[in-house]
Structure formats: structure tokens, C-alpha cells
């Protein structure tokens, strides 16, 4: 092939790690959690794949995926509306005898027939709890060059406390993963898996079939870690920008970090655009007497009040005399006249009525659930 089309297909697990953010995922998947003023978490990995020529992507949904299906539609915004391949949302009960799955292996088992008739040589798997702008082309290249069976990305960072019971860490020697731990809680910098894997499609199919026969469910614990002597698993340290959502606090912090121009540039700069669903909002309107400082604002907002150190998603209204400080306000939040909110995360369509005051703290941002009126 002449073009930049990658010889890999993509698999995304949109429901993984939802239990870390139960407030926001009771009516949506982790993949559809809003992030960074106008995106959903899945936009990052999906755009990264599309930008690297990966144009056959399966999203293995489990539950609560109406908002994700609505967001993804036919995949047009990510250039994934294709005659062959493209975006493929795989729901439960899709085939006879396929039930709602538990672990990653069961989810993969539901598409093993599909996988076996695809043409791409490699498979890249990812969750949707990280906002990253990954260069998958170089990931594929390094995997092919090393001759590994499996290659995975890790970050070298301290393990966030909230995922002490929900992580995989690696011991890497000369690039090869020699130990893969589950639920590591050692202090200090560790090699934390990003759960982004590449391997040959045939290898994955074989792994799933084997695991199914033995009734194994965890890809990391049951398949990878037990076979590190047999399998050449390579670990690559990822040094790019990563926003990792582990709980409400990290959700808040990772949004706020984007107010630093260097972080914004690290995530969105470069040649690869992050695509998202288009809402056709008008530009944001700043009224005559508004005041705004150090904030990130999407389109379709109308700002008449006072906004500082905040992230405003599409269609937010801040009315006259309202004060918004250190907040993350999701789509179509309305802050009415004279209301005062600080350290607050509002979900979609929240309304803060006139003159109400709502304050969290920097360590404990207050969350207001979808469509609630305060």
C-alpha cells in the first residue's frame, strides 16, 4: 500500500475503569465522559488511531452505551465511516449465545469470529480512561522491529492511590517485560501499564481461544503475566502527555491542567487533530460587562458574569452577576444571575439557580449530577 494506512486494526474497551468514577458513569461509559472543554474520553484514542491510518476499529460496549453510540454515530467525524472496516460498535447479544461480558477476555471472545476474517496483521487494544495523543505508527514500527510477541506502553509515575486496587505494573529489563504485577501499591515511581497493547491478530486469536477453553478471564493476569517466560512481551515507556482519569479528583485536576499552555500544546499540538462530534454551536459570546481570566471555553457559551480558572464546555451560560471560579462546567450548564460556584464540577444540563452558592475545595470538588437543578 502506498498510503499511511496502518496494517493494524483497533479494539477499544469503553467500559473499563468505570468503577473509579461511579458518579459520572452511572448513565454513560468511561469512554463518553466529557473532557477538556469539548471532547469525550474516547475521542483521544479514536482520533489517534484514525490519524495513524487505523481505519478498522471495534468498540466493545457492555452497558450504558446510549450516549457513546450517540456520540460516535457512524464515525464520520473520525473519518471512520468507510465501506470496509470503519467504526464497528459491538454490543452484547450481538451474536447468538453472546452474553454481557465480564472481563476483557470474554469481551474479546465475542468478536473472535470477526477477528478471524479480518485482513490486518496486527491488533492494537486500548481502554478509554486515558486522554493521550498517541503516535501509533511508531508504536507499530517499534513492535515490528523488536520482533516481540506483545508490546505495551507504560508510564513511569507514582501509582495514584485511587487505583491501588486497579492497576498493572511492569518490571522491564532491556525492554522486555519480566514481571507483570496486578494491584501494585508500592510507593515511588513505578512502571504503570497504560493497557495499550499491540500484537499480531493471529496471536490474539490464539490467546483468546486458549483462555476460553481454560475459562480464564483476565488478559493481564491470566494470559500475559503467567507466560512472560514464553512470550516476548516488550514494554515501551510512554513519555508523551497523559491525562489519566482515576477518580473525581483526578478528573478535576486533569481538566484544570489544560489551562497551562504547555499542557494544552502537548495534548492537542502537533499534526494530529483530536476529532469529536460536531454540535454546530455559534462562537462564544462575551457580553458587555463580563469578566474572564485564565479559562478554557468551548463554543456556544454566553458569558455575562465573572469566570476565572475554569473549564467551560459547549453551550454553558454564565448570567449577569454570577461568579464561576475553579470550576469544570459541562455542556449546557446554566449558572443563573448572582449564583456563586467554586470548586464545582457540573455534569451536562445542570442548572445553578439565581443567587445560590456552592463551594467545594481544591481537594474535594463538588460534583453535581446530570440535569440536576441546584
Amino acid at each position: 500500500m502506498v498510503s499511511t494506512n496502518a496494517n493494524a486494526l483497533g479494539i477499544i474497551f469503553p467500559n473499563c475503569y468505570e468503577d473509579l468514577l461511579p458518579e459520572m458513569t452511572c448513565e454513560r461509559t468511561m469512554a463518553s465522559v466529557p473532557f477538556g472543554s469539548r471532547y469525550r474520553m474516547i475521542d483521544f484514542v479514536l482520533s489517534s488511531m484514525s490519524n495513524c491510518g487505523i481505519s478498522n476499529i471495534s468498540v466493545l460496549v457492555k452497558k450504558n452505551y446510549h450516549s457513546l453510540m450517540d456520540h460516535l454515530g457512524a464515525g464520520r467525524e473520525w473519518d471512520l465511516s468507510r465501506k470496509h472496516g470503519g467504526l464497528n460498535i459491538v454490543p452484547p447479544f450481538y451474536e447468538e449465545n453472546v452474553k454481557v461480558y465480564g472481563g476483557r477476555v470474554e469481551a474479546l471472545a465475542s468478536i473472535v469470529n470477526f477477528l478471524s476474517i479480518q485482513k490486518e496483521k496486527y491488533v492494537i487494544m486500548s481502554d478509554a480512561n486515558l486522554a493521550v495523543n498517541v503516535d501509533f505508527s511508531s508504536f507499530i514500527e517499534r513492535h515490528v522491529e523488536s520482533g516481540a510477541d506483545v508490546t505495551m506502553y507504560y508510564q513511569s509515575i507514582p501509582i495514584p492511590e485511587s487505583i491501588h486496587n486497579h492497576n498493572h505494573t511492569l518490571k522491564v529489563e532491556n525492554g522486555r517485560v519480566v514481571e507483570l504485577l496486578t494491584n501494585d501499591n508500592r510507593p515511588g515511581i513505578q512502571n504503570l501499564s497504560m493497557n495499550i497493547y499491540i500484537m499480531e491478530r493471529e496471536t490474539l486469536i490464539q490467546m483468546i481461544r486458549d483462555a476460553n477453553i481454560r475459562n480464564l478471564t483476565s488478559f493481564e493476569r491470566d494470559i500475559l503475566s503467567r507466560n512472560l517466560a514464553l512470550l516476548n512481551v516488550q514494554g515501551i515507556q510512554y513519555t508523551g502527555y497523559v491525562a489519566r482519569i482515576c477518580d473525581m479528583k483526578s478528573y478535576y485536576d486533569e481538566n484544570m491542567k489544560l489551562l497551562k499552555p504547555e499542557n494544552l500544546a502537548a495534548l492537542f499540538g502537533g499534526k494530529n487533530t483530536i476529532y469529536t462530534k460536531i454540535r454546530d454551536d455559534a462562537p462564544t459570546r462575551y457580553a458587555m460587562d463580563c469578566r474572564i481570566k485564565n479559562s478554557m471555553v468551548a463554543d456556544g457559551c454566553i458569558i455575562e458574569g465573572d469566570v476565572e480558572n475554569s473549564i467551560l464546555f459547549r453551550g454553558v451560560r454564565v448570567k449577569k452577576g454570577a461568579k464561576v471560579r475553579n470550576c469544570v462546567l459541562m455542556q449546557d450548564t446554566v449558572v443563573e444571575e448572582g449564583a456563586d460556584v467554586e470548586y464545582v464540577v457540573t455534569d451536562k444540563r445542570v442548572k445553578i439557580t439565581a443567587d445560590k452558592q456552592l463551594n467545594g475545595t481544591d481537594t474535594f470538588p463538588v460534583y453535581v449530577a446530570k440535569a440536576h437543578t441546584v
Partner: protein, 404 residues
């Protein structure tokens, strides 16, 4: 079969917008923070339920073509119908550029007849307005008209700039004059026509056969139909409408968006104006920025002071820069400490530190020379350079230079 299709005349070079249309068809000129002019008639079509639009163009269509693409941003990527850009072409018997507005339609009769429409709406690509054409069509049908022309009342003193109609109490047009010196009425044509296609086809063919015709709707087709006694109706339009064919009117129309008293509302969810998206993240406002009465869109980074201005996608305004009563088109970069007042700054312009572009009329000794300054696409205005009011800059301005 389609009941009604639209043909959009986007052909003109827009020479009065000179610096802005050097490499760009007029309908593709950016407007209102995230739109281009053509988004308004296109969105009107879609919102009115017209799903088939032909765009007639022969001038610098590359960017317009790319912008329209498959029509998906306007939901006009249809299996049957949708939006089509129609350039002139050669046939077995010869070839012609479009000679006039009527000839442009004439050359595309085959396109129109594919859809066997009963009615054809003829639109212009240089007007900013929101209109439900379906209501105008209802009126056209009710009047049993061969042609219905959308009209609005203009101040009598401006009437001689327009096509002016006289209509009787039943809205039947009795007289039509193109830019009359002594206007008889103040009913001006908005350049929006609905024709019963059978009739229009007949007059287009007659017009084409007339070697003395200028092949123009206003100068030939409409007068000929009127002279032949066809039923011609005037449809009164009350909302906001502006021809943005000049720098002054383009600037004014952008400023109208910032005026809460002007009935041009792009925030109305019931009549969305669609456009192709920039794909950039939300805009960033720095800790020392100051903004009021302005429109800002995705990908901007503002560290300076913005008053009464419209910023398009990806505009950067450095610390201490001052932007007043101005329009900064996509990708413009205003470096720290530069001043831009009463100006239109086109795509990807760089204004270096300390430069001054345009000025406020109240700061002029002789206001008769005052006007909106325009910087053409891709130009760099050098360090401490000065671009005077009314200037039309089409070449880089060197450091420290003054440009008139």
C-alpha cells in the same frame, strides 16, 4: 423528483472586497467568528427543507469547493439531491464562461431538470440573513405567481442602490427598475427569487436567444417577464438582511452580531447556521486578558485586550495587544503590544509587536479619510509598522513602515 430546489449564484469576483478575495471566492469569505458567507444561504435552505442546492461559481473555486466538500456539515450529502458546485464547462458545440446570472442558470438547465422541480429558488452568495424560504414558497403558490421576489423597505435615500419595485395592494409587482435615479418606491429587491420552473425555463431560453441581452436576472429576465404580463409578486421580508459586498458592509454585519439590538441571532437553536468545523479545542483566555462584547471561537489564545471584536478559529492575541472593533480571521496572530482598531485582518496574517493597524475615527483629525483597514490573507505587518485607516494591504508591510 423535488418540489423545489435552490440555485445559488456565487460567481462574482467580489472585486470590492479586493484584498479578501484575491485567492478566494466571495461566498467563501469568513464571517461571524466561525462561518463563511455561504453558510447563511446554505443553512437557510436546509432549515427550510430544501435539500438540493446548485452553487454556480467560476472564480477561484478551490477553497470554496474544498469548504463545501460533500455537503455533510449542512446535512446536504444526499443520495439524491444534496449540494453540488457547478463550474462552467465545455460541450461538444463549444464552451463559455458564465456570461451573466441568467446565463449561469441557463447553462445548468440539465442539472435542474434532473430533479424535475416545480419551483426554483435563486439565491445570492453574498447576503447575510436568516429566512424560511418555505414560507415564501407558500406565498408564491398562493399568489399563483410565475415569479416571487423577496423585498424589504429601505430608506428612500438609499433606494437608488437597489432594484426597486412598485407593487399593488395585492403585492403584485407593477414596475421594476434596476438602480433607478428617481425611485418611485422604497421596496428593494433582496436578490432572492422563487420562480415557477416552467416559466423561468421559457424566459431563460428566450433571453439566451437575444444577442443584445446582458443575461442578467435584474436587467433582463425580470423586466421581460413583467413586460409579458406574468404574475410577479413581492414577498415582504422583515428580519435582518445585509449585502456584504463591500468592506464597510462586511465589517458592519460582523459588528451587528455584537449588537444585542440587531435581530441577527446565530445562537438560536431553532435556526442553526451550520459551518465546517475547525476541529480545534476550546479557546484559552490568559490570566491577564480582558474581554468584553466580543465573539471568540475554538483554538484562540487571548492574552491581550479585546473589545467589540470578532475572533475566528485559531487566532492568537499576545499580552498587552489591543483589539478594538475589529475582525480577526482564522489563524491571524497579533503579537504582544500590537494595536488593531477598526480593521479586518484576513486569514493567517501576522501583526508584529508594536505595529498599529487602523484607528478609531475619533482619533482622526480629518475624518473624511477614515475607513476600515484591511490586511489581506497571509500578510505580515512588520515590527512597529503602521497601517492607516482605509488601507487595503496586499503585500507585506516592512518593519517600521507606514502603509496607506
Amino acid at each position: 423528483m423535488k418540489e423545489c430546489i435552490a440555485m445559488l449564484l456565487a460567481g462574482g469576483q467580489g472585486s470590492r472586497l479586493y484584498a479578501l478575495t484575491q485567492k478566494l471566492a466571495k461566498p467563501a469569505v469568513p464571517f461571524g467568528g466561525k462561518y463563511r458567507i455561504i453558510d447563511f444561504p446554505l443553512s437557510n435552505c436546509v432549515n427550510s427543507g430544501i435539500d438540493t442546492v446548485g452553487i454556480l461559481t467560476q472564480y477561484q473555486p478551490l477553497e470554496l469547493n474544498e469548504y463545501i466538500g460533500n455537503g455533510q456539515p449542512w446535512d446536504l450529502d444526499r443520495l439524491y439531491g444534496g449540494v453540488h458546485v457547478l463550474p462552467p464547462y465545455q460541450t461538444a458545440t463549444g464552451s463559455d464562461w458564465y456570461k451573466g446570472t441568467a446565463n449561469a442558470i441557463y447553462q445548468n438547465i440539465d442539472f435542474i431538470e434532473r430533479y424535475q422541480p416545480e419551483y426554483v429558488v435563486i439565491l445570492s452568495g453574498d447576503h447575510i440573513y436568516k429566512q424560511d424560504y418555505s414560507k415564501m414558497l407558500e406565498f408564491h403558490k398562493a399568489k399563483g405567481a410565475a415569479c416571487t421576489i423577496a423585498v424589504m423597505e429601505v430608506p428612500m435615500e438609499e433606494a437608488s442602490r437597489f432594484g426597486i419595485m412598485t407593487a399593488d395592494e395585492n403585492d403584485r409587482i407593477t414596475k421594476f427598475e434596476e438602480k433607478p435615479k428617481q425611485p418611485e418606491s422604497n421596496l428593494a429587491s433582496m436578490g432572492i427569487y422563487i420562480f415557477t420552473w416552467k416559466k423561468l425555463r421559457q424566459y431563460l431560453c428566450q433571453d439566451e436567444a437575444d444577442p443584445n441581452s446582458e443575461n442578467d436576472f435584474g436587467k433582463n429576465i425580470i423586466p421581460n417577464m413583467l413586460a409579458a404580463g406574468e404574475v410577479m409578486s413581492a414577498y415582504h421580508f422583515a428580519g435582518y438582511w445585509k449585502d456584504v459586498g463591500t468592506i464597510a458592509s462586511l465589517w458592519e454585519a460582523n459588528m451587528d452580531l455584537l449588537n444585542p439590538n440587531v435581530p441577527l441571532d446565530v445562537w438560536d437553536d431553532k435556526w442553526k447556521i451550520y459551518s465546517r468545523n475547525s476541529g480545534m479545542p476550546g479557546h484559552q483566555i490568559g490570566a491577564n486578558a480582558e474581554i468584553d462584547n466580543s465573539m471568540i471561537t475554538e483554538g484562540c489564545r487571548v492574552d491581550g485586550v479585546i473589545h467589540n471584536s470578532v475572533l475566528f478559529a485559531g487566532v492568537k492575541v499576545g499580552a498587552g495587544a489591543l483589539i478594538e472593533d475589529s475582525i480577526l480571521m482564522p489563524g491571524a496572530v497579533i503579537e504582544p503590544g500590537a494595536v488593531v482598531q477598526y480593521s479586518i485582518v484576513a486569514e493567517n496574517v501576522t501583526v508584529r509587536s508594536g505595529a498599529q493597524v487602523g484607528c478609531r475615527p475619533e482619533d482622526m483629525a480629518d475624518r473624511s479619510n477614515w475607513g476600515v483597514a484591511v490586511i489581506g490573507g497571509g500578510i505580515t505587518v512588520g515590527y512597529k509598522a503602521k497601517v492607516m485607516p482605509s488601507a487595503m494591504v496586499t503585500k507585506d508591510v516592512k518593519d517600521g513602515e507606514e502603509q496607506w
